[in-house]
């Protein structure tokens, strides 16, 4: 085999990346993955050519979204036919398919031209660590996360809280919330829970949750 053939094989080889999506923001990591799938991270990138690399995204179930994005953000599916207009909130979508959130973020970061389909086909998403052996063998590099993984409150050891420097002293007369809410819990009898009336027509797509999900506007979600 000639030297230049070996060189061409090396230069145009398709590199397989692994991405651990635990605690990562799908939007920021979606931008990185889209760039790698299109091959724009290579100096030999050319729009006509498919110089993209493959990416295996794991732990997409543990993706972290900002603030109350799980509830307020939604997947809008608009079709011309009736009854196919859906506004699925992300938490519902996550239940249906844990890998879909990251997939949609990468899809939105890709320019919507004809080869997007083929580039997206090079993205393999898995909800947990379980990856088929023949795929994990291909991996040769790992994409680094795009945010610092925070420490959960229940992971804090009492030692940390003690050593953390005291910024200021609480005033003596301050009363922390010592109300014991469990006492005032009332179990709602089933007959009181509002039934979902089946509504047809324009409201059909929107009215499928017993709590109000303002998908377009940002409002407080009233949970009773």
């Amino acid at each position: 085999m000639a030297f230049n053939k070996a060189q061409q094989l090396a230069t145009f080889s398709r590199v397989w990346y692994l991405f651990d999506a635990k605690w990562q923001c799908p939007h920021m990591s979606g931008e990185r993955i889209a760039r790698i799938l299109r091959g724009e991270h290579k100096p030999i990138y050319y729009p006509g050519e498919s110089t993209g690399d493959c990416v295996i995204a794991i732990n997409t179930r543990h993706v972290a979204l900002r603030n109350d994005a799980w509830r307020s953000e939604a997947l809008h599916i608009k079709r011309e036919y009736a009854k196919t207009r859906y506004d699925i909130p992300l938490f519902k979508l996550h239940e249906l398919d844990p890998t879909k959130v990251l997939h949609l973020c990468v899809l939105s970061c890709m320019p919507s031209d004809s080869i997007r389909r083929y580039d997206m086909a090079r993205l393999y998403t898995f909800p947990d660590d379980a990856v088929p052996v023949h795929l994990i063998k291909n991996v040769c590099d790992q994409i680094r996360g795009s945010r610092v993984i925070p420490k959960r409150l229940d992971d804090l050891t009492p030692n940390d809280t003690k050593t953390f420097p005291q910024m200021f002293k609480w005033p003596k007369e301050l009363v922390l919330d010592d109300l014991d809410r469990d006492k005032f819990v009332r179990v709602v009898p089933p007959e009181e829970i509002p039934k979902r009336e089946v509504m047809l027509g324009q409201r059909a797509g929107k009215q499928n949750y017993w709590f109000h999900v303002p998908t377009s506007r940002h409002e407080e979600v009233k949970i009773n």
Partner: protein
Amino acid sequence: MVRLLRYGTIFGPLKDRWRYLYKRDLYKRRLEAGPEPERFRSALINWNYDAELYACTHRFGEKLNIESLRNAMTDASFLKQIVKQRTEAGLAATDQTTLAFTHNQELAKQGKQIAEDFLQKALHYWYPKFPQEGIEAITKFLLSESTIADISSGLGFKTLIRCDIPSPRPTMLTNALFAFIGSINENTGRSRAEVFVADFILTHLVGKDINEIWQVKNPMGLLTKVLEENGRQAPESRLIWATGVSSVLSTYVVGVYSNKEFLGKSAGATVSIAEEMAARDALRRLFETDEKRAQIPFDKLYKKGLLLDK
């Protein structure tokens, strides 16, 4: 601008029917008659052999006299043809007058010898670490008939050579070029002939890779032999990279090391190919004939004064 729609043919838009039929008939006759027989360039009117030879002497900046060039350009088959024509014309073999010119076999032998020596010297000087078999393989490739035939047809000897058939065969072309080198050697001296060889035969290597001309059957075996000579340990190959192992576009990058020192690396679709190419790459780096090697200074070989003393 309204354009009339007209019938059209390969001869252009159809104006008159009789013209179209006439041309179609001519075309059919041509196909039946077959291509024109090949003719000697000297058969055409605008041909003057002395002027051509005079121009040829000036073309390459070599000061040759016309007679030696005429000898270099005449082929043995041309002389045979003359003798045959004379015998047909009834002249007995004895009283045929000797010709003013001779064929170019001896000059060709001389030229080939000069070219061979010079090429060996130049390659050995510029690639000192390259083994002798490699240099011989390269000189054999450079002096092979096909290469020399291309070179001489590129120098315009195709029409200048006098031989029995219109387009000279590769052997005639090679003889002509070597005879030309021999005649330079006679007229102006060996150094001038060697500069000619450097400018036209050695430059044939410009686009080519030395390591590919010399096909090494078993690169790893050769590598072990070379390392033993240098007193280093046997080569080991390690996998440096492997992507897409189970996919179709799999790439392995294998590196060759001896006693933890890096020798060479290369990529391949499978591990065996990558290893073999890595061995070739290691050889290339050991012999210092890889891309970062400077190009052969074709015109400065003598200015560097390195070839004269050898």
